[in-house]
């Protein structure tokens, strides 16, 4: 049923896939971003690996096909006369096979992605004010306030103290409540696998649990004006004991300004909106 070309192509595709697939699973996959420091980051790495696996056969097929076609179907060098190829206008079985495999893959990806999204409590992405998937058990809320051009952080369960640095305890489910005082920012903690847009007037929640003490980069990922490129700082994951002493130190350090802070709220609409 398959022509000689078809058999060769199928064989090459299978061989190519057999070579590339293990590389994807065992070499590239484990090194996919954003790393393995948190549950959601691990989930994303797993996701990325699955995506690589699904797209490998298609990519290999198309590349093998292109190379094969250029090798096998090229007009001989020096052929000046135009000779037409066979007028093949389609091939039902191939088209149906292609449609079936792509459809199955795509539906699998959508179901898989949705499952992963829900199973990992939103996979570290901002899920709006009331995410449909929440972690069970105790959650430590931390508010991320974006403003032009710095992130500040509030700890509502510690008297609403506000700090300029983000420190979180390990082994504890964190709920980042991301909001903005002005334009749209995006809170991106790369190593944690967290990204959530900071919109004015919106409480955007993302969950994460860090496994071990480490540092992580925080960057703004949505163009927010002049110093967008400089809107970064370094966060810390520490042990619960270190976190307790750190937060106590911040409470005393920022005691003078605490009386001026507005009561903790999921969003803020601070004055002045305009001046002059």
């Amino acid at each position: 049923m398959l022509s000689s070309h078809g058999r060769k192509l199928a064989a090459l595709t299978v061989i190519g896939t057999a070579i590339v697939l293990p590389l994807m699973v065992f070499v590239l996959g484990p090194n996919m971003p954003p790393g393995k420091d948190t549950q959601v980051a691990k989930g994303q790495v797993f996701d990325n690996t699955v995506l690589l696996v699904v797209m490998t056969p298609f990519t290999v097929f198309i590349l093998v096909y292109l190379i094969y076609a250029l090798w096998a179907f090229r007009a001989p060098k020096g052929e000046t006369e135009l000779i037409d190829g066979p007028p093949i206008r389609g091939h039902g079985p191939s088209q149906i096979a292609w449609l079936a495999t792509t459809t199955i893959s795509v539906l699998f990806l959508a179901v898989f992605g949705s499952t992963e999204l829900l199973a990992n409590n939103g996979a570290g992405g901002g899920g709006g004010p009331n995410p449909v998937a929440k972690p069970s058990g105790a959650v430590l809320p931390i508010q991320v306030i974006g403003q032009q051009w710095e992130f500040t952080y509030r700890y509502p369960t510690y008297g609403g103290v506000e700090t300029a640095q983000l420190v979180i305890p390990e082994g504890q489910e964190i709920a980042f409540h991301v909001t903005s005082l002005d334009v749209i920012h995006s809170f991106w903690a790369y190593e944690l696998g967290v990204k959530a847009d900071a919109n004015p007037g919106v409480d955007n929640v993302a969950y994460v649990k860090a496994d071990h003490p480490q540092t992580f980069q925080v960057r703004c990922a949505e163009l927010c004006g002049l110093w967008h490129g400089y809107m970064f700082d370094t966060g810390l994951v520490v042990t619960p004991a270190a976190f307790a002493s750190w937060i106590a130190a911040r409470k005393s350090q920022f005691a003078p300004v605490s009386k001026y802070l507005p009561p903790y709220s999921t969003t803020y609409a601070p004055d002045p909106q305009h001046r002059g």
Partner: protein
Amino acid sequence: MNMRRLLGFNLLTAVVLGIVGFYVGWWLGHQINGPSVAYFASTGQNDIALFVAYIVGVIGFLAGLGFLNYPVSRMLGKPPSLREKESEGIGRYLGLCTDHKVVGIQYLLGIGAFIFIGGLNAMLIRLELMRPTHLVWNGNNYLTLVSVHGTMMMGMMTSGILGPFANYFVPIMIGARRMAFPRIEALTFWLLMAAGTILMTTFAFGGFPTGWTGYAPLSEQANMGMDAYVAFFALVGLSMTLLGLNMMATIITMRAPGMTWGRLPLFVWGTFSTAVLMVLAAPVLISVLLMLALDRTAQTGFFNVQAGGSPYLYENLFWIFGHPEVYILALPGMGILLEILPVFARKPVWGYRLAVTGMLGISLMSWLVWQHHLFVSGINADLRPFYMLSTELISLPTGFIFIAALGTLWRGRIRLTVPMLFSLAWIFNFLIGGMSGVFLSDTPSDVTTHGSFFSMAHFHYTIMGGLIFAFFGGIYYWLPKMTGFNLNERLGKIHFWVMFVAFNSTFGPLLVIGFLGMPRRVVTYAGYLQGANDWVSVSAFVLGASMLVFLYNLVWTQVFARVPAEMNPWGSKSIEFSLPSPPAVHNFDRIPTFGPDPYPYGDDGAGIGQRPVIAPARPTR
């Protein structure tokens, strides 16, 4: 050159009237809302005056070109001239011309100039990114460079293929003598030129910091330079709407006998599906920009949270336009691809109906995916699985295009001419673009890749790797037909290989850099990414240099060497290659009749003899 010609309706008059109109509008705007108003007094910015200046300036520009002659003479009851400037000579390229072939070449040159500016900006951006911290441009200028690059490319390239190639060849391919609305056709081009000029005036008003997306509220607090963005994109939107409408009307109503829907060349199908998207999507853009303009001038609060508005509204409306927009950029490239492959594989398109279904499927489904740009924004979070599904489903019709392209190569007799090389590169680049898109469509994976260099590299793979490569394929394929002079094949191959290697060497590493955590549109980055960024910058400069090879080829062959093009250098069986190069003003002396097969390659008898029957036309040169 005599005074009469200088004083007529031409580009010179248009520029003069445009500048006069700008200052008249500026003055008028200050009368409407002068410095007595506290808001404008304290900012020193008068957005109303600038908007009015742009509007009056554009009207003056169009009047100078002669666009008002027709409506005015109709109003005065005079019989209008129906064939403005369908004359000969170089002057017709510098004014309102209703010959679709002239408009095509105008588009090629006009858009080319602005794309050159956009590309130059890209070079300057990469220069800055050779160091992890500040190097050359200060914060304002860097963001303006980024923004003008993105806006210019997005605005101009939407018409990058439809403008030059569809205007030129769609009427010929369907056997028509002109477009349905020739004056509107010319208008779309001159609107784009006015728009591009307006965008460049942003530098005089402080630039703008928002990128091509113009997200509110950042775009509401920006300097007056932002108004240039608003005016630019609104004019581009208007041009797109009219262009799409014109294309639809032409393709629907002006097909020659025998040219049924099932016989349309796939380039015409690509144009048609793009045109439908343009007509439906561009008005949304115009509306959202109107809202932004009102927020910036009349202080309405569409996007101001404290006034009851929402930045989500902007994001939603922008991407309802913005996602069809990226397919507006992709579809014409697919059309060119499937037009070129049969010629150089010497085979009919494999799966014609499949390809048409793919194109129409893409244009339908591109309406259902826009919130995948907002996966982490917190908007409608419960709908993320739906948008994930719809986004991934769109790979099915895209897959149809792929398999049609691949099937066309099957057992063909492939000749690696320059247009063919660009088409094959399209397949490779779009494959990588599409596969990287899978990561962005998957919500958990998008958490890391959203807003990073990964997504930036992804859409450069689809737009530059897809659209621009198809654009150059189209140029090498059709330009001899359009101008009557051959391009140099050898220089074309040098251009291709340098461009192809440098392109992948630029954007391939950028995918990795994005995975490693570098956001888009930043001027600083982590120090350990410097090596990779330097590599990318050098590759980008080589990529830029490859364009100089093309420009040299263009100028040398078209201005100096001028080797006359044969009627059919490629052995193509498409109808434009049975006309002289360039075709006569009215294309056909007698309207042709089309046979059943648009791609009659092969020797089974079905194709032979089915080529369109036309009467020879006289060459015009």
